[in-house]
Amino acid sequence: MIRLGYNTYISVGLFACLSWLLVSHRPLVESSTEKPLKLLSDYGLFIGDLTDMVPAENVLPYELNTPLFSDYAHKARFIYLPEGTQMAWDPIEVFDIPQGAIIVKHFYYKADERDPDSENRFIETRILKNTSKGWKAWGYWWNDEQTDAAYKALGGKTDVTWTDVKGKIREVHYESPNQFQCKSCHSYNGKIKPIGPAARQLHGGKVDYVGNWVETGVLTGSPADHSTWPVMDWKAEGVTVEVAARAYLDANCGYCHRHEGPASTSGLFLHDKYPTGPETGVLKSPVAAGKGSGGRTYDILPGKPEKSILYYRMKSNDAAVRMPEVGRSIAHEEGLALIKQWIEELE
């Protein structure tokens, strides 16, 4: 299917010659670390059965205050830091994460959400590795026996059924992203970058990850007092609708709808750093939305969620209308209810 260009032959030839010249001076194993390993277990990030999720040494579990909605899948997150390395604090962006670090995210469903001991069904595990050539994103698809997951560049698809907290049977046609689709979200000025591990997502919640990481020396450069930092927790006790809604939009839209993200074309910016106003869609006309406008004139018409494109697209399951474009096939009822209330209360 692929015919190699003339240049490739020349490059391969040159590379072979250079390699031969350098072979006595350089270790050859270096390159293999830039490629995805075959099996999730090959990374040695967990002890015992993978489904027990017991982290190995230098593998730190964490949760985000406001996670991205992914068709009601549960997610378990871990970061591996090579021995002796640290992350550097940043007030807004994701922490500066050292080369060699690996971020791991399992996606799984509980058979019955009402029962905490209900069985987990692991679907996929995503790996983000900070290689010498920048971040790489690799997807692993779990076997039916639930013993391991294998690298799958094209991603996978499967039907999932579970019982939700209200006892209702739910179904979803789950799709994991192919390798390029990872960049639909993980894109920062055209390069792959993590999204989650940022200050506002990692403190002020049930566990103070920032505080713990500073204490154990894996996070440096943070100000001594972090009580004044913004917390982005859409479910925090006593949280205002405005803060909760912006937290939700940041986590679900802001990685792409920012100047550095692919949706910068739209002029709609939903990252937490933009104040609520025209940039976040208030009385803003759409650009290149096509049928995504749903016949509506503004991204957000204050007081009128049903007349706001933002709400319409979050509610739609149509492939050419829905937002986010990838990562969900059904709407997030709780998120929608929040955004509805937020737009209703906007003036």
């Binding site: 390029f180 759409p286 650009v287 509506r296």
Partner: protein, 406 residues
């Protein structure tokens, strides 16, 4: 088959279902094989899409390569049919690639845009077709060929039909050539938006709602377009009803529009053949005409320096469209004898209630070409001017266009 035995019929059905199953499997294999090839290719590679019609159900994505070519066997030979697309909204999406060429294939009936390229340098669209078949409708995808945030774009010899926004749409890009293309039965045939240094020439725009549009919109990172030449195009009978979903800017374009400049400055429209567009042949308007709020201080809603030169404009006396407020206004003011070239006359002065400042040369006709009206839209059409001499240059000097010699 009519007289055949039940056994034969049964066998035939079985055979048919097997054929269908095998074909369906083969189609899924194409989807996966091509996406895998695109994932695993290297800089400098070429992906060949052989002759045939292929049903695809998901977007094909490419990201991050240099010097890659994706080629079919010919526009009418390699056909990628996306009818009933299940995942992704584009047909083909290319991002962060440099020196990337797509040529000789057709994409049909995608859920959203047909071919979108973003953040690419030296991107070539050659002999491609993007169409939505059947009657043009608002549920068609928005854009056929859609480079955005790209530099050095060449769109050559392509066809676009049925887009519910623009057949060929260049957004927020720099250094662009669109030539030898055909855009029919789209809302906008060719649209150049918030884009600088573009040349649009030797194209045919026929039976769209609007033939060729040059727009600047507020609220974007790339604030201003400009330095654009639209020349030697054939802009014919763009009288199709507007089927864009409401809310999109092109939904405001009146059926019967030949060439329209909205808010963009430094645009030259020259040597085009603009015929039988019922509402307006050339319209120059500000963003204020949309009556949408502007919440962007760095945005310039008023166009300046629009040159109209040597166009062949024909329009028989007929009613402009009644399906649009500009059309209705023209009908009300001029009846069937609408001046083919119109300018809304909205400037800082007229917005402040003063008279138009002729010295600013917002629009300049190099010779008359056709009747020209300044509508005075800022002052409720109080002082409409027909062929104002200050806007029509009758001397012998001709401006030098970048396209000079083409």
């Amino acid at each position: 088959m009519i007289n055949s035995s039940p056994i034969l019929r049964c066998a035939f059905t079985l055979l048919l279902s097997c054929v269908v199953a095998v074909l369906a499997k083969a189609q899924i294999e194409h989807q996966q094989a091509w996406q895998l090839a695109l994932l695993e290719m290297e800089d400098g590679d070429t992906l060949h899409l052989p002759e045939g019609t292929y049903t695809l159900t998901e977007s094909l994505l490419v990201d991050g390569y240099d010097d890659v070519v994706v080629t079919g066997a010919g526009m009418d030979k390699t056909i990628l049919q996306f009818e009933g697309q299940k995942a992704g909204s584009e047909g083909f999406k290319v991002s962060n690639c440099n020196r990337f060429t797509m040529k000789d294939f057709t994409i049909l009936n995608t859920a959203g845009d047909a071919i979108k390229t973003q953040m690419c340098d030296q991107i070539n669209f050659l002999n491609l077709e993007t169409s939505w078949t059947g009657k043009p409708k608002s549920t068609n995808g928005s854009y056929g060929l859609y480079p955005v945030q790209c530099t050095n774009v060449l769109i050559d010899g392509c066809k676009a039909r049925g887009a519910s926004d623009a057949g060929i749409y260049v957004g927020q890009s720099n250094k662009v050539i669109v030539r030898n293309c055909t855009a029919i039965e789209n809302v906008a045939g060719i649209e150049i938006e918030n884009t600088t240094n573009a040349m649009v020439y030797d194209n045919l725009a026929e039976n769209n709602t609007g033939g060729i549009l040059v727009f600047d919109l507020p609220g974007l990172i790339k604030k201003r377009g400009g330095h654009i030449e639209v020349f030697r195009n054939e802009v014919r009978s763009n009288n199709l009803k507007n089927f864009a979903p409401k809310g999109n800017i092109v939904a405001q374009v009146p059926p019967g529009t030949g060439v329209m400049v909205l808010a963009t400055s430094d645009v030259a429209i020259h040597r085009n053949t603009i015929v039988e567009n019922r509402t307006t042949s050339i319209a120059v308007v500000s963003y204020y005409i949309t009556e949408l709020p502007i919440q962007d201080d760095a945005y310039e809603p008023i166009p300046h320096e629009i040159t109209i030169d040597g166009n062949n404009i024909e329009r028989k006396h007929q009613w402009p469209t009644f399906k649009n407020k500009i059309g209705k206004l023209l009908a009300f003011k001029f009846g069937r004898k609408v001046p083919p070239i119109i300018y809304d006359g909205i400037t800082e002065e007229t917005l402040a209630g003063k008279d138009l400042d002729f010295s600013k040369n917002a629009v300049l006709l190099m010779g008359k070409q056709a009747d020209f009206a300044v509508l005075d839209a800022a002052r409720k059409f109080k002082d409409i001017l027909i062929n104002p001499p200050a806007f029509i240059y009758t001397g012998l000097d001709s401006p030098i266009y970048d396209s000079f010699g083409l």
